[in-house]
Symmetry: C2
Subunit: 228 residues, 2 copies
DNA sequence: TATACTTATGGTTAATATGACAACAAGTTT
DNA sequence: AAACTTGTTGTCATATTAACCATAAGTATA
């Protein structure tokens, strides 16, 4: 044990990475390749360098794991049960990220042998308190998606209103009325209708929309409500 | 530096303690009596014992500083800018508490020479990033009070509807309509009208109400909206 | 070619919630 | 007795909402 550590002791970062695939909400899990928990699944996590902010550590962890940057990433909270890890006392700071699965290839790196998307309803037993962290993150996502248009981060750049609604349905766990959803979401003026339609569908093609981040900036400054 | 620490290194707890006095929202600050920051004001904080959860550490810190227990206390988040303290790298976990000032006497303890309530609009320059933490806590309080009836923790056990409204006005920083406030708050069925009235007021005495925690439990299970 | 089928999109309507404000009640002070 | 202060109740036009219904625009099937 040296006096000058380059990393923070007893503190870690754990990230919940949400994705959306075939209408199903998923989370990215990794299989540990070394240590006590070898062979077990958990949330991707990491440590904090001495000179690095915790947000930056979360960004770096995410980059190391998924290769992606400029992502919606938000702190959940700190998890600090003294027995959350049996062998030593570590406080972890949870983050969650929303990524568009089409844009990124995820590859296992460093101390993990495998990285895999799990449907949110089929999460296996995870190491430590990672199931608890994931539950907390899901609840946070559910409330957050009602107050800010963060769901767009899970979708491709161009999407239909029904795709967006199905995303809300999947996250909130309840059915929505398409007519009412359409009216409410359009009333917010956050979406820009494109001159394009869906391709290769075996039914009437829906109009594609895009999320307008300029409008979002303007609206979020004076605060807005996103209740569905 | 020994191998076996009894406290967690490089992690601290800081508490925002909100009170409500004469219609004004206040926060409890302490004046440091030792160390680099001697003589300066800051949020009451402390360290985490090895065998203690972070929530328990926050409760204990609060007890040591104010003598109070069984308090509404909620974690804000972790603050982890590497330069938030100039001399060494410490990540702090912020908490906030709402207390009824009538019920407790606050006394300075341990490493502080003074503990004092400051009006939320007259907060002095605080040590480290404590002003930032306080701002974050206030914003959290503002959004939280719209989704859960936590405001009751700031009031005496029995209160009038107008007192409750003034609390909301003070926290949200805007005026409310007394008629509409009354209608909305009573519709939630969270308040129990008592057979008592205000005493010693130089105008018509208002009916006193009480917060019913049984009803709260039932309602919060199926979730409710507290928009004012 | 006609018919069924699927999803998209655009109403309709009754019930409810909201904001703004007026009116009256019950006390105290002048 | 009149003015004043705060509490309490009521009104009303408008906005919002949930729950439907109807039609449009395509594809698939017979």
């Amino acid at each position: 044990m040296t006096m000058y550590q380059t990393i923070m002791n007893s503190i870690s970062i754990d990230c919940i990475i949400f994705g959306f695939n075939n209408g199903v909400l998923e989370a990215l899990l990794v299989k540990h390749a070394i240590g006590d928990s070898k062979g077990e699944w958990g949330l991707p996590g990491g440590i904090i360098n001495k000179g690095e902010s915790i947000d930056a550590a979360a960004q770096r962890t995410l980059r190391e794991l998924t290769g992606l940057e400029n992502i919606f990433l938000e702190q959940l909270k700190a998890f600090g049960d003294p027995k959350r890890i049996p062998t030593n006392r570590v406080i972890t700071i949870g983050y969650y990220a929303l990524i568009n699965r089409e844009e990124y290839d995820v590859k296992a790196g460093l101390t993990v042998s495998e990285a895999k998307w799990y449907k949110i309803n089929s999460i296996p037993n995870l190491i430590y308190d990672h199931n608890e962290i994931l539950d907390f993150g899901l609840k946070k996502l559910q409330t957050r998606i009602l107050n800010a248009p963060i769901g767009f981060n899970l979708l491709p750049e161009k999407f239909t209103l029904l795709q967006l609604m199905h995303l809300y349905e999947e996250i909130l766990g309840k059915e929505l009325d398409k007519s009412n959803f359409r009216r409410k979401i359009l009333k917010m003026k956050l979406l820009v209708a494109l001159d394009e339609k869906q391709q290769d569908v075996s039914h009437r093609a829906a109009k594609l929309y895009q999320f307008d981040s300029d409008i979002y900036e303007k609206l979020s400054q004076k605060g807005f409500n996103f209740e569905i």
